[in-house]
């Protein structure tokens, strides 16, 4: 069995860029070894009858000032150019590694001094460092190797520092240190293997830079000295005769660019191969009519949202939302629960018209405040949604623009949709921040998101939704990223907004207890469909779908026996790319039989308006489900 490491490296060769870069690099390396052995004599042969001639059949790229063949000289120079570059890279990597590992090798205090020096050195461009060291080590090939090596070192030291800092935080490295493992052995056995991969990738790219830098130093006359020659030396010689004989300068120049590019591209190809290892997602087409349940009639004026047979599809036929129907009235609070991947967030985004290409939303009916969203002209729709449809997202840390003041981000809603001026809009924003109980709102409005705590940000986000006069707030996991006490405050705030302004709330959550406490009605989603729709008050006793009851059983409460393992729902959620025939939950359901595996149960409503999609709803209903029962399907 190939180790994961090997297959990763092989993966690099599967991309077209990776293959061409590897081929190019192999050719350059081969030439570097072979050319000096094969053609040194041709390259050195002086022909005084053919001085500074242009390209001919005999001399493909002409001759230089002593009548020597330029083409062969460029080939032979590969050896010295590449060899010296690799040597310099090796010096740079080693020195950098030692400097970067200084905190481990020398102890904390000396390590800090070294780190500070490295941080200053790294701010200077490599070429300046190389010039500095070239002065110290003297003009010539060996001086240039050391100069470029040391010039590369700070960057590698910095890289090593970062990597080592990451690794030494790991438990087993800390354990090894406590166990009294020597510093050098700690470095060699635990740290190096972990940082080797990024170091190799960067060393490859650095070898390209070293090659270019060496050409630069030699070109300036500070590197390889005559009679030895590398590409930079040839370039400097050729540049003098650029008017009469351009090939003598262009040929070594091209060689430098090609070789440098080979190292760079190969390095980047490995970096990509190492970084991105996700297998290509295979989509499977499914064409099957979904059973559609009619939404409960809600044709009154208080209708906020009416959704029928909502579907979200992605190219390749994946349908993470497969025919969802529900309705919301003014002031109503409805929760959607389900595991991740059940399609609850996509349902919310689809309703909000925020599904991005290439995703596609279709519905038999999608009305907001009685207006068919799909048929409205763009401008009208944006105006309608902008003023009366509010969204609260899961992660308040990332949902605000970090470069803009909070007040400004609220104000722009009113500037856009209510035609308010800057000043007025900001006043409105401060007023709204006060309404969501952000203390010192006027001062807070001038702050940036990173100056707000998570809970405060979520309040501000709700305030942003209240810049207009919302009829609906869609809150997608609004409390998941917050700690428990703050969670309660945010939910209480949403509740009070609902009560005060008769706003409907659609709360998306994976946590059935939150939804049960907060909402009047609960929609349970599984594999892109609603499997049960019932009043929150009916939970847990009157839940009929086995999935709903499994969700409830998985919640530990005060009566949960501590000795027993926590209940879990066995199996894994359905992959939207491969939804099985029949009931999607069948594979994880203790009650599943042939009928379940053969046909998907329709979502049927009973006399009270409760809906459920299960062939055995009447059998399983009313009986509390035990944790063991949940685990039966494993």
């Amino acid at each position: 069995m190939p180790s994961p490491g090997k297959s990763k490296w092989a993966g690099v060769l599967r991309t077209p860029v990776g293959v061409s870069a590897a081929t190019l690099l192999a050719a350059v390396l081969l030439l570097a070894v072979v050319a000096p052995l094969l053609w040194s004599d041709e390259a050195a042969a002086v022909d005084t009858g053919q001085i500074l001639r242009g390209p001919s059949a005999e001399h493909w790229m002409g001759t230089d000032g002593l009548g020597r063949d330029v083409f062969h000289r460029v080939l032979v120079a590969t050896g010295l150019s590449v060899g010296l570059a690799l040597l310099a890279t090796a010096i740079g990597v080693l020195t950098g590694l030692l400097l970067g590992a200084a905190p481990i090798l020398l102890g904390a205090r000396a390590g800090r001094v070294v780190s500070a020096m490295v941080n200053i050195a790294v701010a200077f461009p490599g070429l300046l460092l190389a010039l500095f060291f070239a002065v110290v080590f003297g003009v010539g090939a060996s001086g240039a190797v050391l100069a470029i090596g040391f010039a590369l070192a700070p960057a590698f030291a910095r890289l090593t520092q970062t990597l080592v800092a990451k690794v030494s935080g790991l438990d087993y490295v800390a354990a090894a240190r406590i166990a009294g493992l020597g510093r050098v052995r700690l470095l060699a056995r635990h740290v190096l293997p972990n940082v080797a991969e990024p170091l190799v990738v960067n060393a490859t790219v650095a070898a390209g830079s070293a090659l270019l830098a060496f050409a630069g130093l030699s070109f300036l006359g500070l590197g390889v000295q005559a009679p030895a020659y590398d590409w930079g030396r040839l370039l400097a010689d050729g540049l003098a005769g650029l008017y009469i004989h351009p090939a003598a300068a262009l040929a070594p120049g091209t060689a430098v660019v090609v070789a440098g590019l080979a190292f760079n591209l190969f390095g980047e190809a490995i970096a990509k191969g190492v970084g991105l290892r996700s297998a290509p997602v295979v989509f499977r087409r499914r064409d099957r009519d979904e059973p559609v349940a009619p939404a409960p009639a809600g044709e009154d004026r208080r209708s906020v949202l009416a959704v029928e047979n909502l579907r979200v599809t992605f190219p390749g036929g994946t349908a993470p939302v497969r025919g969802v129907s529900f309705a919301l009235r003014r002031g109503e609070s409805v929760g959607i629960v389900g595991e991740s991947g059940s399609g609850k967030t996509l349902t919310a985004l689809a309703v909000a018209q925020l599904i991005e290409e290439p995703g596609e939303v279709t519905a038999d009916r999608l009305e907001f405040r009685g207006q068919p969203l799909h048929e409205l002209p763009d401008r009208t729709r944006q105006q309608l949604l902008g003023t009366s449809f509010a969204m609260v997202f899961q992660d308040p840390m990332t949902s605000f623009n970090p470069t803009q003041r909070i007040g400004r981000q609220l104000a722009e809603v009113s500037e856009q949709h209510h035609g308010l001026g800057r000043r007025q809009a900001l006043d409105r924003a401060i007023d709204r921040l006060q309404a969501v109980r952000v203390p010192a709102a006027a001062r807070r409005a001038k702050q940036f998101p990173h100056e707000f705590s998570g809970g405060m940000r979520q309040r501000a986000m709700i305030g942003m939704g209240m810049m207009g006069s919302p009829a609906l707030i869609v809150a997608d996991e609004p409390t998941t990223a917050l700690d428990v006490t703050v969670q309660r405050q945010v939910l209480r705030l949403l509740q009070s907004v609902r009560a005060a302004d008769d706003v409907a709330i659609l709360l998306i959550s994976h946590d059935i207890t939150v939804v049960r406490r907060f909402c009047e009605r609960v929609l349970v989603m599984y594999a892109g469909r609603i499997v049960e729709d019932l009043p929150a008050a009916d939970l847990p006793a009157r839940a009929r779908h086995p999935y709903t009851r499994a969700l409830l059983a998985a919640v530990p409460d005060m009566s949960t026996e501590l000795e027993r393992p926590l209940a879990v729902i066995p199996g894994r959620p359905v992959d939207p790319a491969r939804v099985p025939v029949g009931c999607a939950f069948a594979a994880r359901c203790p009650f599943a039989d042939e009928q379940c595996r053969g046909a998907d149960p329709p979502l049927v409503a009973d006399r009270e308006g409760r809906r459920v999609a299960c062939w055995h709803a009447d059998v399983t209903g009313g009986r509390p489900m035990m944790a063991e029962e949940v685990r039966v399907g494993e």
């Binding site: 500070a116 020096m117 200053i120 701010a123 200077f124 461009p125 490599g126 070429l127 300046l128 010039l131 500095f132 070239a134 002065v135 110290v136 003297g138 003009v139 390209g208 270019l212 050409a215 630069g216 070109f219 300036l220 006359g221 500070l222 370039l235 540049l239 650029l242 008017y243 351009p246 300068a249 262009l250 120049g253 430098v256 660019v257 440098g260 590019l261 760079n264 591209l265 909000a352 925020l354 290439p358 944006q382 902008g386 969204m391 997202f393 992660d395 990332t398 949902s399 605000f400 623009n401 970090p402 470069t403 803009q404 722009e412 856009q416 949709h417 940036f448 990173h450 986000m461 942003m464």
Partner: protein
């Protein structure tokens, strides 16, 4: 007195403590960096194996001459005293005397510096203009090619910018000289005479950074377009132009400025090579001449000038970042 106090308080309230902290921290870092630079320049000569004076004068020089010159340069004094003299000299504007020309180093630098500053300045302006042009280009490329659309457009854009970014400026310079100087004869191939002579060196310096920045901007914009706050902006039903210009652009630009600062620092160093291709009468040709002639006081002086230039560029970048992205004022780096 109370008025003064309350004034100070409002000032602090206005600027915010984070800004003061940032400014103080940044200043300390600049001073330490300058000190390290000066010390390194001083030590450079003493790190050279053998006697720098003997090296400068050559093997044929008589021992008496070497001893005399050593004494004149103060090389017989203990190291710490030389260091003190060196620092004192720098503070009074005396950076030593050029060995080859006998002129004060400060005067040689003063003569040559303007040509280099002009070159780097022009290149910087051109690169900035190019990037300002490249910003919409990069963003447009990101918008056009996101989600794997228009593979061919993306490939040609990426490969062009990769190749342009990988060709070092002095090789680009040689190519430009060949095409525009030798083949087409539009511009002089060397020297500094008239505005036309600036065209090629400036282009050689600016092309690479501009290409790299355009590519980076595309990648950054792609990442930013997937950010949560862009979804928030869309949820506010803002028109596309506001979403892209007010919410996507400033965030995509911060990373670009960071890298742009590094490239700009590298550009200062790149002038050394480009000046030598074009025989430009600036600091770059001078430093190479003085290294080859072992004129160490002059090398020292020029190293200080380049180093300070890079430090100032870094400072400017940090300030620009702080203005654009307020988070960077609190980031510890």
């Amino acid at each position: 007195m109370t008025a003064l106090l309350s004034g100070a308080r409002t000032l602090r309230g206005l600027a915010g403590n984070t800004w003061l902290h940032f400014a103080a921290r940044r200043l300390v870092r600049l001073l330490i960096s300058v000190w390290v630079l000066v010390t390194a320049a001083f030590l450079m000569i003493h790190l050279i194996p053998g006697d720098p004076v003997r090296a400068a004068l050559g093997l044929t020089a008589s021992p008496e001459l070497v001893a005399e010159r050593r004494a004149a340069l103060g090389h017989d004094e203990p190291l710490w005293l030389q260091y003190v003299h060196y620092l004192g000299g720098l503070f009074s504007g005396d950076a030593g005397t050029s060995v080859t020309s006998g002129l004060p180093v400060s005067r040689v630098i003063g003569d040559r510096l303007p040509a280099t500053v002009e070159l780097a300045g022009f290149a910087f302006v051109v690169a900035v203009v190019a990037v300002v042009v490249a910003v919409p280009l990069g963003v447009a490329m990101a918008v056009l090619t996101r989600g794997g659309r228009r593979r061919r457009t993306e490939l040609s854009f990426t490969s062009t910018s990769v190749v342009l970014g990988a060709v070092p400026e002095f090789l680009l310079a040689v190519g430009l000289v060949y095409v525009f100087g030798v083949r087409l004869g539009w511009v002089p191939v060397a020297g500094r005479s008239g505005l036309v002579s600036y065209a090629l060196p400036v282009l050689a310096l600016a092309a690479g950074p501009a290409a790299v920045l355009a590519r980076l901007l595309r990648v950054e914009t792609l990442a930013v377009l997937h950010a949560d706050y862009i979804r928030t902006a869309r949820a506010k039903r803002l028109p596309g132009r506001i979403v892209y210009l007010r919410h996507a652009l400033p965030n995509a630009v911060t990373a670009t400025i960071t890298v742009g600062g590094l490239l700009l620092g590298a550009m200062v160093a790149g002038t050394v090579l480009v000046e030598n291709v074009f025989a430009w009468p600036g600091l770059g040709t001078t430093i190479v001449e003085s290294i080859l002639a072992k004129d160490y006081p002059l090398v020292q002086g020029i190293v200080l000038v380049y180093g300070t230039g890079v430090l100032l560029v870094n400072l400017a970048v940090d300030i620009a970042l702080a203005l654009l992205d307020p988070r960077s004022t609190i980031k510890e780096s």
